[in-house]
């Protein structure tokens, strides 16, 4: 039986623009188990990043606002913690890596200072011990010559190296949960492969749980065990990766999988990719009923008026679609 590390219950997040309150996340619930990698997949505007940032209360308030929900970690609701208590947790128990390492590091501090700062804050190490530990961490993420690199600034690193430094920074306090927001999206494919290998290796060596946010189904298949698909602020399907990629039930999931050209199979001359028609709805114009119905090839009358709920239809496999009531 998997042990839950982080439980999110009925999380609802909104953003205010002008007089309008737009709901970005419509009350989602999930759990991240100890030692697993759970992928949160969706297109832009699906609410995947907002729901992940909310875990550490990192969405800017205002305009953002967590309307309701609970985020349980060690049986404590992170949403109810005092700012000081939350700061203790951030970076120590739950760490984050972001898509763009350049904008998430301080450009006027050396990378060594930035990692040492985290260590001094959250561990009893002295400054010189923290320095040794930092060299060790940089070694762990395959940064060559860590003793020298320690005293360099972020701009002196390439994109891939910066992402390694970010990972080293995130791992510095051995967090139990790592939230990775599109960690390889800004990287070239060869460097992406290196970072995926690195994350896999880190997983092997620790019991860390990873919540991986991505739009790239290939990356999901490479490192995640379970996946949640989000659309217009709702989880529309969740299940084990092996099952979801072979026998997805939600038409949106299937559409996403089928619209990616296969690298292996020889394409037929002038063969058309299967497409999902229409566009991703904007938050101010979420369709009634099932939000996917205007783009759904199998939409029925009921889909236009009634919103389906996420329902478990096999152990660990849930879908919100009227085709599978």
């Amino acid at each position: 039986m998997p042990t839950p590390e982080l439980r999110v219950k009925n999380l609802k997040v909104a953003f205010t623009t002008g007089d309008e309150e737009l709901i970005a996340v419509h009350g989602i619930s999930y759990q991240l188990n100890r030692g697993e990698t759970l992928a949160l997949v969706g297109e832009s505007g699906s609410g995947k990043t907002v729901s992940a940032l909310s875990v550490l209360r990192l969405i800017p308030e205002p305009p953002g606002k967590i309307l309701s929900g609970e985020i349980l970690f060690d049986d404590k609701d992170l949403l109810k913690l005092q700012a000081k208590e939350l700061r203790e947790r951030r970076g120590r128990d739950i760490a984050m890596i972001f898509q763009d390492p350049m904008t998430s590091m301080n450009p006027v501090l050396t990378i060594g200072e930035q990692i040492i700062e985290t260590l001094l804050r959250h561990t009893p190490l002295s400054r010189s011990e923290a320095r040794v530990k930092t060299i060790d961490l940089l070694n762990q993420v395959d940064i060559p010559f860590p003793e020298q690199k320690l005293d360099q600034y972020p701009h002196q690193f390439s994109g891939g190296m910066r992402q390694r430094v970010m990972i080293a920074m995130a791992l510095s306090c051995s967090p139990r949960v790592l939230i990775a927001d599109e960690p390889t999206t800004a990287l070239d494919v060869l460097i992406q492969a290196q970072i995926i290998e690195l994350l896999k290796q880190i997983k092997k060596e620790s019991q860390m749980s990873i919540l991986l946010i991505t739009h790239d189904l290939g990356v999901v298949a490479e490192i995640a065990q379970r996946v949640m698909v989000m659309y217009a602020g709702d989880i529309v399907e969740t299940g084990p990766v092996s099952k979801l990629f072979r026998a997805s039930l939600h038409p949106y999931t299937s559409g996403l999988i089928n619209s990616v050209p296969a690298l292996k199979a020889t394409p037929q001359k002038n063969f058309r990719l299967s497409e999902i028609s229409g566009t991703v709805p904007s938050l101010s114009q979420i369709p009634s009923g099932c939000p996917f119905h205007p783009r759904c090839p199998s939409a029925e009358t009921r889909c236009r008026t009634d919103k389906p709920r996420l329902k478990e239809i096999a152990p660990d496999h849930a879908v919100s679609c009227w085709l599978h009531p």
């Binding site: 790239d216 559409g255 990616v260 690298l263 990719l273 991703v280």
Partner: protein, 327 residues
């Protein structure tokens, strides 16, 4: 091969040994040279789609823009239907631009936010001297229809559209004057996954209905395989492998191509493959490695790779590779 396809394979575009070196200021004010393109040659046949692939910084976008003379090359020749573009007078070049168009990566940045869509689409006609306003209006409606937008959207502004729709408008602008050649610079990279297939399918439709040849720039190997007849793989300003799509993907010859293909995460979790391990980063184009530019990361390099530069050679019919160990 039928006779018909043979006759359509005259080269539309021939690029010979083009180079582009940029001068850049270093941190301490000294001038440095960025070796963006180091002599690339290829031909694009009539009706063909040629893919240019590689990582960021390999020079693929510079190559695309140089072909259209949006960037002037440092050296080399560009022949379009046997005319040397670099030797053309400006007025002649301008009128030739009708036939060669470009689609950009970022549809938000490539359309004027202060212009209505119909004005954006009328512009190519104005520039190239079409004067009959009612005819132009008719053409704009026809263009919108061709790219899958309705004519009642013509009086809207770019911000009222989604990324995928904007890219359709960018495509409508590119096909307005019935071009023979379209350079598509990462046309779907900025789009959501569910929208990419729509745009790729639209480009395929246009290729068939308008006999367009594409130079297709992308870093997405799967989309290139799907879309292109032939593929050129670039590394640090050079083509390292050039072949028809099928042999290139099934039997890549250059170790860099092999590594690129192996690095792509597959969506089939059952086909986990042994990955070719490529260490390190792309070298700096201001400080090119000696010898083969890939030798610093190559898992099979030998002594000669560090000393001399391999030339692009035909290893088997139609399959070119620049590698001492694979030629």
């Amino acid at each position: 091969m039928t006779i018909q396809t043979k006759t359509t394979q005259a080269p539309l575009l021939e690029v010979r040994n083009i180079k582009k070196h940029f001068q850049a200021k270093g941190i301490s004010g000294e001038t440095q040279t960025v070796y963006a393109l180091n002599g690339i040659s290829f031909t694009l046949r009539e009706g063909e789609t040629l893919g240019l692939v590689g990582e960021s910084g390999c020079g693929k976008s510079t190559a695309a823009r140089t072909v259209l003379r949006l960037i002037e090359p440092t050296a080399g020749e560009i022949l379009y239907r046997n005319q040397d573009l670099l030797a053309l007078r400006p007025d002649k070049m301008r009128s030739l631009r009708k036939e060669m168009q470009i689609i950009f990566q970022d549809p938000f940045a490539s359309l004027n936010p202060r212009k209505r869509i119909d004005k954006i689409l009328e512009e190519p006609f104005d520039i190239h001297g079409f004067t009959n306003p009612s005819k132009i209006k008719e053409r704009v409606v026809g263009l919108l229809d061709k790219v899958g937008l309705s004519s009642d959207q013509a009086d809207k502004y770019p911000h009222e559209f989604s990324g995928g729709q904007l890219q359709r408008i960018g495509i409508a602008r590119a096909i307005a004057l019935n071009p023979s050649l379209i350079v598509a610079d990462e046309p779907v990279s900025a789009l959501d996954v569910s929208i990419r297939a729509q745009v790729i399918n639209l480009l395929l439709d246009l290729k068939e209905s308008m006999q367009i040849s594409y130079l297709f720039i992308s870093h997405d190997m799967a989309i290139v395989r799907h879309f292109c007849d032939r593929v050129a793989v670039m590394y640090l300003g050079k083509i390292v492998e050039l072949a028809d799509s099928e042999p290139l993907y099934n039997k890549p010859q250059h170790p860099y191509t092999e590594a690129l293909l192996a690095a792509i995460p597959s969506i089939d979790p059952e086909t986990k493959k042994e990955r070719m391990k490529i260490k390190g980063d792309l070298p700096n184009a201001m400080d090119m490695p000696r010898g083969c530019a890939f030798h610093t990361r190559c898992p099979i390099r030998e002594k000669q790779c560090e000393e001399s530069i391999p030339q692009l050679k035909e290893a088997r019919p139609g399959h070119h590779v620049a590698c001492f160990l694979r030629e």
